[in-house]
């Protein structure tokens, strides 16, 4: 397994894990009151978006997935 494959696998698995974690946390926190919790929710949402972006990049859907040749 070369470096690129390693990166690929870790990215895909990691992105899925982070997405699930962020979604679950968002669902659990959904009803918390208070200003900072609204900010937390926004940030968890964006975190989920970020992991989707990383996942899509790893699947080759967006960006151009290639090594630093």
């Amino acid at each position: 397994m070369n470096q690129l494959q390693f990166e690929h696998i870790i990215t895909i698995i990691g992105a899925i894990v982070v997405f699930l974690a962020a979604s679950v946390a968002l669902k659990n926190d959904w009803k918390t009151p208070g200003l900072e919790n609204q900010v937390f929710k926004l940030m968890l949402f964006l975190l989920a978006v970020g992991s989707v972006l990383a996942f899509l990049a790893a699947m080759g859907v967006i960006g151009s997935w290639k090594g630093s040749a």
Binding site: H8, T11, V18, A22, L35, L44, A54, I62, G67
Partner: protein
């Protein structure tokens, strides 16, 4: 007579219950102040992002002539490392709220390790760019000006975040915070999430859009 009360402690966050009123009010102030600090930090990043977009739009296409495309694979890998640290930080705070100190400590240490991992990944990327493509801060035109300044500034924020979290961790070990009073920990979590979120934007604007 009916009097509108300007600051009512129960209107704030749910965690304010069960602590004295002075703490609850002070906590509100500090969290609000910290959120505003994050807003102004966001403006700082936005200004540099504006500069990047402006230079990119008036320039010769992106990446500029003579500069290699950035390596999306490694960046995505590194991003996932940073995003993961955001998730672990969230678990750390949740466990603190529920009084699971050991679980909290584990997640917190994981956050610090992942953050450090991201930082080393960024160092590795800089090193690759420099040795393979001779791209340096001042030697790569507007690419250096926007890419290295923005990612460097973000990296500096990550570094400050690692120091911040380390101090918070030592404070929790030292018993500074309790299950009810942990405003400092909340602010640390907010900051760490903020650093993650900035990277979502930088990642999409520098790596995915080129």
């Amino acid at each position: 007579m009916a009097v509108a009360v300007a600051h009512d402690p129960s209107s704030g966050s749910g965690q304010a219950h069960g602590v004295d009123r002075l703490y609850a009010e002070t906590r509100e102030l500090r969290i609000n102040g910290f959120l505003l600090f994050m807003v102004s930090d966001l403006v700082l990043f936005s200004s540099f992002i504006f500069a990047y977009l402006y230079l990119r739009q008036t320039g010769q296409g992106w990446p500029p002539p003579g500069i290699s495309r950035l390596d999306v694979a490694f960046a995505a890998f590194n991003s996932v490392v940073l995003f993961g640290s955001g998730a672990t930080m969230h678990f750390a705070l949740e466990n603190w709220k529920h009084g699971n100190f050991n679980k909290y400590a584990g997640w917190m240490l994981a956050t610090i390790v992942l953050g450090a991992g991201f930082l080393s990944g960024q160092g590795y990327e800089y090193w690759t760019l420099y040795t393979k493509f001779h791209a340096s801060w001042s030697g790569a035109g507007i690419f250096g000006a926007s890419f290295f300044t923005l990612t460097g500034m973000h990296g500096f924020h990550v570094f400050m975040g690692i120091c911040y979290l380390t101090i918070l961790f030592l404070q929790t070990v030292g018993g500074v915070y309790t299950k009810q009073k942990y405003a400092g920990l909340t602010m640390g979590t907010l900051y760490w999430h903020f650093v993650d979120i900035i990277w979502v934007f930088l990642f999409s604007m520098f790596y995915l859009w080129q």
